[in-house]
């Protein structure tokens, strides 16, 4: 509809624009500005040009955090996608009760990462014995303190984070699978396809686009991974579970290095833009 006065749409937009610019864009610009400073948050700000950026390239902790994050992203994405698709496939295969199972499968998604972490902390506890170590003892294995063991900590953090969110991808894949036209699937059956063949040759290709959408969400989400690592292990032992976001957070708020912390924040921003760009490019190639 045409407005009576030209200013009308802007009156409706103004509050949202003001808050959006004020709390999202303005601080982001601030972060970019801070990234050129040496500054502890209280004292004097000192302009040091690109020194923080140079430091980034020789920072061993950042390098470890970056590779941890890469592992977190690759394994987390694969795990959540497979789990989500598997659960969705199972549910799409049954007639009765798929609703109640879907409700149960989704439970970890609605619980805070804090509660999930606290529950797993107790399940995995070795002293006193938690469920996992007791079960391991019953199986004649030596209980392992998964979260404080360098070898296992990152895998644990990745899987617990994945466990928390995989229900979301189950719902997305389930909706997509149910949207595949019944006639197409039945036509495949009439042509003599087995259930497996119909699933892999007809159903999965039909939801191809959904994979890319899920991939974008997952890659983007994993690069910003923070909660589980920060709460459960605090990046440790050593820097076994340090992610870029936890390192940035600690640099700024525990070590009061606001300048370098901002540089790391800019790194996260650029990193996620590039990653999403790559996924979108691959998607374009596939859909042509």
């Amino acid at each position: 509809m045409r407005p009576r006065r030209k200013i009308e749409p802007w009156l409706f937009l103004l509050p949202a624009l003001a808050v959006y610019i004020g709390v999202v864009l303005f601080p982001m610009a601030g972060t970019i500005g801070y990234s050129f400073l040496e500054w502890n948050g209280i004292g004097e700000k000192k302009f040091i040009g690109f020194d923080n950026y140079v430091r980034m390239f020789t920072d061993k902790t950042l390098r470890a955090a970056f590779f941890n994050n890469l592992f977190f992203m690759l394994v987390g994405t694969a795990f959540q996608m497979i789990m989500g698709l598997l659960m969705a496939t199972l549910l799409s295969g049954i007639r009765k009760g798929s609703n109640i199972f879907r409700v149960l499968y989704f439970i970890p998604c609605i619980i805070s990462s804090m509660a999930i972490c606290k529950i797993f902390e107790k399940l995995l506890s070795v002293q006193p014995r938690g469920v996992i170590s007791v079960v391991m003892e019953l199986l004649n294995m030596k209980p392992i303190a998964f979260l404080s063991e360098f070898k296992y900590a990152l895998t644990c953090v990745t899987l617990i984070d994945g466990y928390k969110f995989c229900g979301l991808y189950m719902v997305i894949f389930y909706a997509a699978l149910m949207n595949v036209p019944q006639e197409t699937v039945e036509a495949a059956y009439i042509d003599g396809c087995s259930w497996m063949q119909a699933y892999f040759k007809v159903k999965l290709p039909a939801i191809k686009n959904m994979f890319f959408i899920v991939l974008v969400i997952l890659v983007n989400g994993c690069l910003k991974g923070f909660d589980v690592s920060y709460i459960l292990t605090g990046g440790g032992p050593g820097n076994a579970t340090e992610l870029v976001a936890t390192y940035m957070y600690k640099t700024a708020f525990s070590m009061s290095n606001f300048g370098y912390g901002s540089t790391l924040a800019v790194f996260i921003l650029i990193e996620s833009l590039i990653a999403v760009g790559i996924v979108k490019m691959i998607q374009k190639k596939f859909s042509d």
Partner: protein, 280 residues
């Protein structure tokens, strides 16, 4: 599964896997609930996976009396209600302007908002901290409400626009002929019609607001201002070593409200969260 095509073994494997996943997805919550009902002797004397020998509520009494859980809970409620109100009040009119008022820049304004979906909260945290320090806003409700409203706007506006653009223009024109101005058309015609979108926007945002960790952990350092996730952390950190029973009870108290809401509104919650995720 079509009975004709799936043979018996496939169906048995399917049913078994379904049960395995049910156990996997619900066991942690089930376990913590059971463990919270064990008496201290029971916790010390029985296997950690065993069911409670008798139902014992002492842990809950302890969790409520020895911690600020009630206070944390109230803080979480205040933050969630104000944040949701803020999101609706800001995003519905903005979406109305973008989708229903003709003006040259409407497409650009939408893209400008969508840009926000790409921005990680971590790239805004440090300046926010500085601004809050400057205006003495740390340890206020506003300090966690504002950023959550701001970062929820792109998605919420997007969800609203997706619905509002399908409301027929004739309805608005009829109201305009009756003498209604833009504001009346919005508040009396468009907003009531977008009721379902409002529910979706609220549900999509509620779960993440209720469970929010980073802002609350950064800005709420005073015990009296802590929200449930942060308060739980403090309580477990302090009690976790000495008293597992009370710890379990506190965890159950913290997750119970979302679980209850979820069991009542499960369809809307799942669809709302999935819709938000897919459309980003």
């Amino acid at each position: 599964m079509n009975n004709l095509q799936a043979n018996k073994t496939t169906r048995i494997i399917f049913s078994m896997l379904i049960v395995v996943f049910v156990i996997m997805q619900s066991y942690p919550v089930f376990w913590v609930t059971m463990a919270s009902l064990k008496s201290p002797e029971d916790i010390a004397g029985s296997a950690p996976y065993a069911l409670p020998q008798s139902i014992y509520f002492g842990n809950y009494v302890k969790a409520f009396t020895q911690s600020g859980l009630i206070r944390y809970f109230m803080n979480s409620v205040i933050v969630a209600v104000c944040t949701l109100l803020g999101i609706i009040i800001l995003s519905a009119p903005a979406a109305y302007a973008i989708s229903k008022i003709e003006f040259k820049q409407s497409g650009q304004v939408m893209s400008f908002f969508l840009l926000g979906m790409m921005i990680p909260i971590f790239s805004c945290l440090i300046p926010m901290f500085q601004i809050y320090n400057l205006f003495n806003l740390r340890n206020t409700y506003l300090s966690v409400i504002l950023p959550q409203v701001g970062f929820s706007l792109p998605m919420s506006i997007f969800l609203y626009v997706g619905f509002m653009k399908y409301i027929p223009n004739e309805l608005m024109e009829a109201a305009a002929i009756d003498g209604a101005g833009s504001f009346r058309i919005f508040s009396k015609v468009i907003f009531p019609m977008a009721k379902n979108s409002t529910v979706t926007v609220m549900i999509y945002n509620f779960v993440s607001i209720w469970n929010e960790f980073t802002y609350a952990n950064t800005f709420m350092t005073k015990d009296a201002m802590k929200t449930l996730p942060i308060g739980l952390n403090a309580f477990v950190g302090e009690m976790g070593r000495r008293d597992w029973g009370a710890t379990f009870a506190a965890i159950v108290i913290a997750i119970l409200p979302t679980i209850l809401i979820y069991f009542v509104l499960n369809k809307q919650v799942m669809e709302g969260m999935a819709a938000g995720a897919v459309k980003s």
